[in-house]
């Protein structure tokens, strides 16, 4: 990126400068994944989003428990920036920096109140969405699928109510997912049986990924 060769790259660099001026501050992170709604455990890998080209800095490999943060632009309509993956901090008191951002979990923080809307996502969920979305740039749909889950940008972000609306009785396993885990027969099971399977392994990644895959498609 030393010598920008295209209009896009110049715009991209402008955005980066703009970003560092605006967002060097805090961003409030929640231990809840914006895509699968499950808890992100301490030391799990995560990413966060602001306005950067996602493909450019996307981590090349992921462990199962990693995340990112996606940070939105001022009006919350589009993603602005995607952080590098990071391990979710252990305690609310732990201050962690990723890129230019300070990840904050304090329940009261004036600096977080000023920050752009952001969502925290498991890196794996991010990747599953990206793979299932069969077009090049999945960043915008990922933003809409995660940040727009709550109706508006809640202020203060720390007091956003957990709506907890996931319908656990709705389970479906698509053919590709069933094949990927080498149990192709799973895709042809009736709902009732799938629900029983789910009740034995309620927090298995399988259910998360099936949900994300169907959202992306």
């Amino acid at each position: 990126m030393d010598s920008p060769s295209s209009i896009e790259e110049v715009m991209y660099l402008d955005r980066m400068n703009d970003l560092s001026a605006k967002t060097k501050g805090h961003v409030y992170i929640t231990p809840e994944c914006g895509l699968c709604d499950q808890i992100i455990h301490a030391n799990e890998w995560t990413v966060a989003c602001e306005n950067r080209n996602p493909l450019y800095i996307l981590p090349r490999f992921y462990r199962s428990n990693v995340g990112v943060i996606v940070l939105g632009n001022e009006d919350c309509l589009s993603p602005l920036y995607l952080t590098k993956k990071f391990r979710f901090p252990k305690s609310r008191e732990a201050i962690k920096s990723v890129d230019e951002l300070t990840l904050c979990q304090r329940l009261q923080c004036k600096m977080c109140d000023m920050a752009h809307l952001s969502v925290t996502i498991h890196t794996n969920c991010y990747r599953v969405f990206q793979q299932s979305y069969h077009r090049e740039d999945a960043m915008d749909p990922i933003w809409v699928a995660s940040a727009w889950k709550f109706l508006w940008r809640h202020r203060p972000p720390q007091r956003k109510p957990r709506l907890d609306l996931t319908d656990t009785t709705l389970v479906s396993i698509g053919g590709p997912v069933a094949e990927a885990i080498c149990i192709p027969g799973l895709a042809s099971l009736p709902q009732e049986v799938l629900q029983m399977v789910r009740s034995y392994i309620p927090s298995n990644l399988l259910w998360r990924y099936s949900l994300i895959q169907s959202t992306a498609e």
């Binding site: 589009s78 109706l151 508006w152 809640h154 202020r155 007091r159 956003k160 109510p161 609306l165 319908d167």
Partner: protein, 233 residues
């Protein structure tokens, strides 16, 4: 009334923006938004939003506050805007990158999702688990003394044989209504962590169909008085 919004950095993507008060009806995934510039319509109305696990699901315009109808949902939440609140809010809808031209009043969208921008005081909004919150007959509505939207859950006493209250460190964490379809209270606390479940205490109160319940109060160790809101129907 409506004006398109375009993100200059992402010319392929577009969002369309309306005043929420101008939207007559909208459903996620359904092509188009029935928005109208109807300043002529002077009657007061309420805008009811339905939310599910994917986000905004439906926008409806109601002329009157709905009568309580015993419907409740675990997978949908409902929030109502007064006309004034709707006037001050805008709704953005994400349009497919494939569409280069579009009508301002008919949005064909690929993602089919919408987002509201931006109730300035989130404190004013109450999420309910019923599309027709029985607000009118309520004698009191508990409010936590902290900012932020509130999520209310209702327990319908119709066909209920008893209530189980779950407490953790003096606070009500859950209420289970025992009915023919859900006789056992255990599933109600399944989503709490093992640690929380181990430290909960619970109390069961049978409710007879021949008695009428007037009020339930809960006193706790700190001499605070928590009242559970009831409306007898």
């Amino acid at each position: 009334m409506s004006r398109p919004f375009r993100n200059p950095f992402e010319p392929e993507q577009a969002a369309t923006r309306f005043s929420l008060a101008a939207v007559k009806a909208w459903k996620r995934g359904v092509q188009g938004m029935d928005a109208a510039c109807d300043e002529s319509e002077s009657e007061l109305f309420i805008v009811r939003l339905t939310v599910d696990c994917l986000g905004l699901k439906e926008i409806q315009r109601l002329q009157v506050w709905p009568e309580y109808n015993h419907i409740r949902s675990n997978t949908c939440a409902y929030v109502s805007f007064t006309q004034g609140q709707a006037n001050r809010s805008f709704i953005s809808s994400k349009v497919s990158s494939l569409l280069t031209s579009w009508e301002p009043l008919l949005i064909l969208n690929k993602f089919g999702r919408a987002f509201i921008e931006n109730p300035h005081d989130s404190r004013d909004f109450q999420f309910w688990d019923t599309p027709s919150p029985p607000v009118r007959g309520l004698q009191m509505l508990p409010r936590p003394d902290r900012p932020g939207s509130i999520r209310y859950r209702t327990v319908d006493l119709l066909n209920t044989t008893g209530l189980t209250f779950f407490f953790l460190r003096g606070f009500i964490m859950a209420v289970h209504s025992h009915t023919a379809n859900s006789p056992v209270a255990a599933p109600t606390i399944q989503h709490f962590s093992r640690h929380e479940q181990d430290h909960m205490i619970w109390t069961y109160i049978p409710i007879s169909s021949t008695d009428s319940l007037l009020r339930i109060g809960v006193g706790d160790a700190w001499q605070r008085h928590i009242e559970v809101s009831f409306r007898i129907i």
